[in-house]
C-alpha cells in the first residue's frame, strides 16, 4: 500500500497548500469567471504582501497552521483549572475562600480590579494597543478607519486571554490572603488557604 506523506509545517506567508506547491487553486468555474472579470488575479499578493485567495480584501494574511498545539493544550488545562476553582468558589462561602473579612471587605480584589484590570481593559495604553482589550478594541473599531479595523478581532481574542489570566491571578492570589492588606505588606503564601485545602482534599 502506498504510504501518504505526512503533512509538513507550512511556510508562513502562503495561503494554502496549493500555493505552497506552486499549484493552482481548485476554484470553481463561477469563481474563475468572477476573478477574470476583475483586474487582480486570484492567488496573487497585494502591496502589503498578503495573499489574495479570493475576491475579498483580507486585512491580515491567512496562515495554515495547526490549531491544537502543546501550548494550547497547556493553557486549556490551566483554563479548566480556573473554571474548577470558579465553580468551587461559587458553591463556597466567600470569607474562608478569599480570606476577606469585615475589616478588609474588599481585600486585594477591588484594588486589583479597579486599578489594574480597568486600566488594562479601557485605557488606550501601548499595552492595550498591542495586546488588545475589549473596551479599547471597541473604541478603536468605532473611531478609527480601515487600518486599525483589521486588528479588532485579534484584540478581542487577546482580551479574552487577558481576562482568563486575570481569573488565574485571582485564583493564585486567593492562596495569599495577606496580599494587599495594610498590615501585611509582603506577599505571604498561606498553605492553609481554603483553596489549597480543598484542592488537597481531592
Amino acid at each position: 500500500m502506498r504510504r501518504r506523506a505526512l503533512p509538513t509545517r507550512k511556510k508562513r506567508g502562503f495561503a494554502n497548500s496549493y500555493e505552497q506547491r506552486n499549484m493552482s487553486s481548485p476554484i470553481t468555474t463561477s469563481q474563475v469567471s468572477r476573478a477574470q472579470a476583475r483586474p487582480v488575479q486570484v492567488g496573487t499578493r497585494d502591496a502589503a504582501g498578503s495573499t489574495l485567495i479570493n475576491h475579498w480584501q483580507r486585512g491580515v494574511p491567512v496562515y495554515r497552521e495547526p490549531v491544537v498545539t502543546p501550548l494550547l493544550i497547556f493553557f486549556g488545562a490551566l483554563a479548566a483549572l480556573g473554571l474548577v476553582l470558579a465553580a468551587m468558589r461559587f458553591f463556597s462561602p466567600l470569607g474562608p475562600f478569599s480570606g476577606m473579612n469585615d475589616a478588609y471587605a474588599w481585600g486585594i480584589w477591588k484594588t486589583f480590579n479597579v486599578m489594574t484590570l480597568t486600566a488594562l481593559g479601557s485605557a488606550r495604553s501601548r499595552w492595550a494597543w498591542r495586546h488588545g482589550s475589549s473596551t479599547g478594541g471597541s473604541c478603536t473599531w468605532s473611531c478609527e478607519p480601515l487600518w486599525y479595523r483589521a486588528f479588532f478581532f485579534t484584540r478581542l481574542a487577546s482580551s479574552l486571554s487577558a481576562s482568563m489570566w486575570a481569573a488565574h491571578g485571582i485564583s493564585i492570589a486567593s492562596c495569599c490572603p495577606g496580599a494587599g492588606m495594610p498590615n501585611r505588606r509582603c506577599l505571604r503564601f498561606d498553605m492553609h488557604a481554603t483553596v489549597l485545602r480543598r484542592l488537597s482534599a481531592f
Binding site: V40, L52, G95, D102, S142, E144, L146, R149
Partner: protein, 265 residues
C-alpha cells in the same frame, strides 16, 4: 435614640433583646458554644455593649454600638442598586432583593456598621434597622424597650437632642466636651451619644459636619441630571463614529474600484 454611658450599667439586656427581635443566632465563637459573647458588631450581632478601660487607672466606660442611622447615610449613597434606603422613622433599612453583595456599604460607612455574612453560601448584609417592623407597629426598638436603667431611650431626634443638651447643661464638665455626639457628625445622626470619656476612645470617630454622601452626590447630581452627561457623551461618540464610518466607506469604495477587491472585516 439617645445613649448616655454614664447611666449604662453594662447589663447587656439590650443584646439578647436585639437578637430575639431580629431572629439572630447567638455568637458563641469565644465561649465554646456556651453563650452569646460577640467581640464586636458582626453578622450575628446588630447591637453590642462594649467596655472601654483606661490603660492606667480604674476608669472605664460602656458604649452601645449599632447603626447610627445618619440623616444622610453614606451607605445609602454608596449602594449602587438602592438596596439600602432611608425609610420611615429615619431607619436605614436593607432590601435583600436588591443587594448584589458588593459590600460598598461596608466600605462607605464611617462607623463600620454594616457587616457581611462571610460564612454563608448566600450571604446578606447585617445591620441594625431600628427594629423597623416594631416601629411600624408603634413599638419601640427592642433595645430601648428592655433597657432597665434608661441609658438608651427612644424618641424624636429633636426631642432627644434637647434632652441631651439639658443633661449637659445640668452637669457642666460631666460629659466630654459638654456636647452631644451625633448632632453634627457626618451631617447628623439619629443615634446620639453622651459620654464621660473622649468619643474617640469609645470608638466614635471624629468627623466633620458635612455628610460623606454629599461629596459624591454633589458631583453625580450634575453629571447625571436628566441623564444629560451620558446622552451628551453618547451623542458625541455617535458623531465621531458616523464621521469615521463615512470616511471609511469612501476609502473602501475607492479601494474596491482600484483593485476590484471587496473589503472583508
Amino acid at each position: 435614640m439617645l445613649y448616655d454611658n454614664t447611666i449604662c450599667t453594662g447589663c447587656k439586656a439590650c443584646m439578647p433583646a436585639c437578637n430575639e427581635a431580629n431572629g439572630l443566632p447567638p455568637d458563641t465563637l469565644q465561649t465554646g458554644g456556651l453563650w452569646d459573647m460577640p467581640a464586636d458588631l458582626n453578622s450575628k450581632t446588630k447591637n453590642i455593649i462594649k467596655l472601654y478601660k483606661e490603660p492606667e487607672g480604674p476608669g472605664f466606660a460602656y458604649v452601645k454600638r449599632q447603626c447610627m442611622h445618619c440623616l444622610d447615610p453614606a451607605c445609602v449613597t454608596g449602594c449602587p442598586f438602592g438596596s439600602l434606603k432611608k425609610s420611615d422613622f429615619g431607619a436605614v433599612t436593607w432590601n435583600s432583593s436588591l443587594c448584589i453583595g458588593c459590600r460598598y456599604c461596608e466600605v462607605a460607612c464611617p462607623f463600620d456598621v454594616p457587616k457581611f455574612e462571610w460564612d454563608k453560601w448566600n450571604p446578606k448584609i447585617v445591620k441594625c434597622e431600628f427594629c423597623y417592623d416594631r416601629l411600624q407597629k408603634n413599638e419601640q426598638p427592642a433595645c430601648t424597650a428592655v433597657c432597665p436603667t434608661g441609658a438608651v431611650i427612644f424618641g424624636k431626634r429633636t426631642d432627644l437632642l434637647a434632652k441631651g443638651k439639658e443633661r449637659v447643661a445640668a452637669a457642666p464638665g460631666k460629659y466630654f466636651e459638654n456636647r452631644v455626639y451625633g448632632e453634627h457628625e457626618a451631617g447628623g445622626t439619629q443615634v446620639l451619644y453622651l459620654s464621660n470619656v473622649a468619643f474617640s476612645k469609645i470608638g466614635l470617630p471624629t468627623l466633620g459636619s458635612t455628610s460623606l454622601g454629599h461629596y459624591a452626590t454633589k458631583v453625580t447630581a450634575v453629571i447625571y441630571k436628566w441623564l444629560s452627561g451620558p446622552i451628551l457623551v453618547a451623542g458625541l461618540l455617535g458623531v465621531v463614529i458616523k464621521k469615521n464610518w463615512n470616511r471609511h466607506e469612501a476609502e473602501s469604495a475607492a479601494h474596491e474600484k482600484e483593485t476590484g477587491l471587496r473589503e472583508q472585516l
